[in-house]
């Protein structure tokens, strides 16, 4: 199978076994993959554990766009980034862990920017509801001295 691959293409295999054929230049935007390729410890198929097909497809979409659009106006890329990261909590969280684990700097930056925007100017209470949801009660009871301080402070 690998012999039929075009040159400079790599296969990425997600944690649930799905395979993606991507150009090497795109795949090496992940520093972790880049290191594997440079150390020649990878065959053409590179396993990407902890990242499922759904998330891996998103990461590849992001990297492809960033690879293609080097010449494009920076503002277009910015628009793409802000639309790309505008996702539900679950996808956002999975993308952050994937980008962090595979060391894709541009993606991690864009995602963190988005989360920071969701936090800016919000009260502690609001951030907790938004990001921690049902864990609120547990934290309130286990850490309540701290919470009295917070509530007086920011309400």
């Amino acid at each position: 199978m690998s012999s039929s691959l075009e040159k400079n293409m790599l296969i990425l295999r997600s944690s649930d076994g799905e395979e993606f054929i991507v150009p090497e230049v795109v795949a090496v935007m992940s520093k972790a993959i880049k290191n594997m390729v440079e150390d020649e410890c990878a065959s053409n198929t590179i396993p990407v554990p902890n990242v499922d097909a759904n998330i891996l497809a998103m990461v590849i979409e992001f990297c492809k766009k960033h690879d293609e659009s080097e010449a494009e106006a920076a503002s277009d890329l910015k628009t793409f980034d802000s639309e790309f990261v505008n996702r539900g909590q679950e996808a956002l969280y999975d993308l952050i862990t994937a980008a962090n684990f595979r060391d894709v700097k541009e993606l991690l930056d864009a995602l963190c920017q988005n989360v920071a925007e969701m936090i800016k100017g919000k009260s502690v209470h609001h951030i907790r509801i938004q990001f921690l949801g049902y864990q609120l009660f547990e934290i309130l009871t286990s850490n309540f001295i701290w919470n009295i301080w917070c509530d007086r402070d920011f309400d």
Partner: protein
């Protein structure tokens, strides 16, 4: 919708990888946001530092000298702290200057960001004395600290109203100039830099930082000395045009044990006009009423707030600094007691009157600290 789209499974945000948290915090910018972030849960708190990382140093504007570089410093003023301790008092306040506010006693929300340069070694010297240009206003575009663009209005030697730009990481400032351009103000509006020159021409800076003229000066010319400010108010870009007039007043002083009087001329704001930028028609349109908005107009920052947030205050006012305005106080005026508010002017756009803030007790009351007599002291 965006953030809460997937309700079926709650994500364990408290288990966010520890090396992601510093990247996230780096995007938060303000100390308040950092404090709040650290208060959310134990794991976020334990993996974050208690203070924001310092800004990278900026090169100096002056090419001639090489003192230590500047650091961009976000000022902590212009916030709106209604006390939460006294819940029966719904008063909102504006700190009058860079005061430290006890975070335990107040709920703070930020109405505006302003910046200043801080140079620790030159901290106690005036820029002019240190041979440096005097930076009047700093505006910053972009929230990602690695890709910010900073634009400053500065004066140097006899050159007033210069504009210069720096992308974070650049070694030097790039001057921005076009013919007959003397910059009066610059602002970030809708993600772009807008600037106005002394004549009232409006420009937008394109991505290559060229000045693109978007509106000619407003037509109302009367030959008086003017100073222009840009303010964003409920989505509109406003131009506040201050007209100055020489104002004669008597100065009382003591010499040889006797009270003497001499007259002195001083420039004072006598009138203001407010215009709104109509970007489709490329012109300034005069604004007759600001409705319930109060504009705070200063050399280093300007912003707009709703009078509704301050019970007892009326809108359609422009608040500005003017050292000469104290001479407008008349003997029968009832003066607000307890604050140094004489050098702040209040212009009423409805009747065209200029007053000292000292004679507007309702408005003066929103500045912190309140007079001790009002019983609000903590």
């Amino acid at each position: 919708m965006d953030a809460n789209g997937d309700d079926d499974k709650q994500v364990q945000w408290s288990t966010l990888p520890k090396d992601v948290i510093p990247i996230l915090i780096n995007r938060l910018e303000t100390r308040i946001d950092l404090l709040r972030f650290r208060s959310v849960c134990r794991s976020w708190r334990s993996s974050s530092a208690a203070s924001l990382s310092p800004q990278p140093p900026f090169p100096l504007l002056s090419p001639r000298r090489r003192p230590p570089p500047w650091h961009l410093h976000r000022r902590r003023d212009h916030r709106l702290p209604p006390p939460t301790v006294r819940r029966n008092s719904p008063q909102n306040y504006f700190p009058l200057s860079n005061q430290e506010v006890n975070l335990l006693e107040f709920r703070i929300s930020q109405v505006h960001n302003s910046y200043t340069f801080r140079n620790l070694e030159l901290l106690n010297r005036k820029p002019i004395e240190a041979g440096l240009p005097f930076v009047k206003k700093i505006v910053v575009l972009g929230s990602n600290p690695d890709s910010r663009i900073v634009v400053v209005v500065y004066e140097m030697w006899d050159l007033d109203g210069r504009l210069a730009m720096l992308r974070v990481g650049d070694d030097s400032w790039t001057p921005i100039y076009t013919q007959h351009f003397v910059c009066d103000d610059v602002i970030v509006y809708k993600g772009n830099f807008y600037t106005v020159d002394r004549s009232g021409r409006a420009f937008v800076l394109d991505p290559n930082m060229n000045l693109i003229e978007i509106a000619p000066p407003p037509t109302n010319e009367n030959g008086k000395k003017k100073k222009k400010h840009l303010v964003e108010s409920i989505g509109d870009l406003l131009l506040v045009d201050k007209y100055f007039e020489l104002h004669e007043r008597n100065v009382y002083y003591y010499k040889d044990g006797k009270e003497r009087v001499k007259s002195s001329n001083r420039e004072m704001v006598s009138e203001m006009r407010v215009y709104r930028l109509n970007e489709d028609e490329h012109r300034w349109v005069e604004v007759r009423s600001l409705e319930d908005q109060i504009l705070f107009v200063g050399d280093d920052c300007s912003y707009s707030v709703s009078a509704r947030e301050f019970p007892g205050c009326r809108g359609n006012r422009v608040v500005y600094e003017d050292r000469a305005v104290a001479s407008q106080i008349e003997e029968e005026d009832e003066l607000f007691d307890g604050l140094w508010v004489y050098q702040i002017g209040v212009f009423n756009l409805g009747n065209g009157r200029v007053r000292s803030l000292a004679t507007c007790p309702q408005l003066a009351r929103i500045f912190w600290p309140p007079p001790s007599s009002s019983g609000c002291s903590m």
